[in-house]
């Protein structure tokens, strides 16, 4: 499994598309640095206002929340790209057969691919989030938590990679890409629904959102991390943060991480079982 993972990591780093991702990420960071700098400079004059609002927390939490949203999307693109054709796509192109006939085991092959995609996309989102956090901090605001959001993003990327691996056993590369992004979109929509429910104090919307985000736990992990950014905010500041586009998120509790791990394991087990029965 480690041989396949190392091979897949080498492949992901040596393909031209990685250079494209790198360049786009640098462009994203430059734009983010500019935006965060301007925003936090603008709100610095609001300190000591009569509403007791911590303007920098509202602005910083919102802009870093936006960055998390973008990073989750980029991480999802990377995780999907690395696993989109892991089985059917590579089999159709003739890349898979020479590997699978080796004394390796199909489950080990699939595990290697998932491990590599999770490692690369996880490391990517952590580095990018770390860079955004530092840029936000240099501009004047540090998030209340760093580790939870960073790990949440990495775990979300792993969940998406697992779903893409499962899809790759069943669908062709193109169909799998479409399916994964539809699932990703469904998760984000559920999250937005929850934030609307939070703002409108609608229990029904909250419940629907909760169920959907647990069915697609990458969204729950993202929301959990988002909530941790401003975990220590209280009073009026918390109320205003909650009304913002990235402020309605809530921590998912201690069960989220074991659930996410079990979810990835179950998705992987389903993929391995299907792959084991597949003719190549």
């Amino acid at each position: 499994m480690t041989v396949v993972a190392a091979h897949a990591i080498r492949e992901s780093l040596r393909r031209r598309v990685f250079a494209v991702v790198l360049v786009l990420s640098i462009v994203f960071l430059l734009l983010y640095a500019w935006g965060a700098g301007e925003l936090l400079a603008d709100v610095s004059g609001f300190e000591g206002n009569s509403f007791l609002v911590d303007a920098e927390t509202v602005a910083g939490g919102t802009i870093l929340g936006l960055a998390m949203f973008a990073i989750l999307f980029l991480g999802a693109v990377l995780a999907t790209f690395l696993t989109i054709g892991a089985v059917r796509g590579d089999a159709d192109r003739g890349l898979l057969q020479p590997l699978i006939v080796r004394p390796l085991g199909r489950t080990a092959y699939l595990g290697g691919r998932l491990l590599a995609a999770s490692a690369v996309s996880g490391a990517y989102v952590v580095v990018l989030f770390g860079a955004c956090t530092i840029l936000t901090g240099l501009a004047g605001w540090w998030p209340h938590r760093f580790v939870e959001p960073a790990l949440g993003l990495a775990a979300a990327a792993a969940v998406i990679a697992a779903l893409a691996v499962l899809g790759s056993v069943v669908f062709s590369s193109t169909a799998n890409g479409i399916a994964v992004f539809m699932v990703f979109g469904a998760g984000l929509t559920a999250g937005l629904l929850g934030q609307i429910g939070e703002a409108l104090n609608s229990e029904t919307l909250d419940t629907i959102s909760d169920i959907a985000t647990w069915i697609l736990p990458f969204e729950a992990l993202y929301q959990d991390g988002l909530a941790a950014l401003t975990a220590d905010a209280g009073g009026t500041t918390e109320a205003i943060v909650t009304l913002g586009p990235f402020g309605g998120a809530q921590g998912a509790g201690a069960a989220l991480w074991p659930f996410a791990a079990a979810y990835v394991a179950a998705v992987f087990a389903a993929a391995a079982a299907l792959f084991g029965r597949r003719d190549l």
Binding site: V3, H7, E11, R14, R15, R93, G94, L95, Q97, P98, L99, I100, V101, R102, P103, L104, G105, R277, D279, L280
Partner: protein, 275 residues
Amino acid sequence: MAALDVQGLVKRYGAVEALAGVDLQVGEGRLVGLLGPNGAGKSTLVKIACGLVRATAGTVTVAGAPAGTLQARRRVGYLAELFRFPGWARADEVLALHQKLAGSDGGARERAELLDLVGLAGARDRRVEAMSKGMQQRLGLAQALVGSPPLLLLDEPTSALDPVGRRMVRAVLLELKERGHSVLLNSHLLSEVELVCDHVAIMRAGRVVTAGTPGELARPRGVEIETANGTRLYEGAGRDDAPRIVADLVAAGEQVYEVRLLRSTLEDVYVEAVS
């Protein structure tokens, strides 16, 4: 024990029966050629033997181990008909990866030997994407030989090669035979099979319809005699009939210049078998 033993092999894809009860053996150190038109089931048979496809019925064993098991795969080297290596990888890296997967401890020396064997010694550091199709096929052959597997399953190993490349592969096959490897060679090139194989099996519609050594398959077709009055063909006559025919002609006052024994070629046998 046979290197590859196929008994009553059946494979169905829905309503389509790709293999309809195939029996075939590849003895140790033997080179067996598998011939047949497109859709005859040759590639399916090879894929079942290396564990890529599951059989519907029947058994396939590799040195006694059921095909597809770890034990069987440790003994098999496989070159697929349609394969590709990652374009970014260099020839040496492809072989190094397969060494790790096959558990070969041959190291750089084995890689160099294999590249040399298939005529790619100068392309060690060339990326796959910069190789011609023929070079990639040679690299595929080298990949199949990593770890020196006792049984080689080669599916159309010369389909992308020029005549010089084909000759090189023939030499490699003979070399492998000398080293004691068993080979199942799936090919459309009759001359290639005729030149290197000990045994030939011809498939049609999922069944082996003819099998034997190239010598057994090449049956007598007649005797052709050139006389002063032209060439005469005695269809169905064999080597033992030739002296009597010549004696009769001489007795009849004919002048005999040349006697030729005609034998059917593998091509004749093949066309007859698959028609």
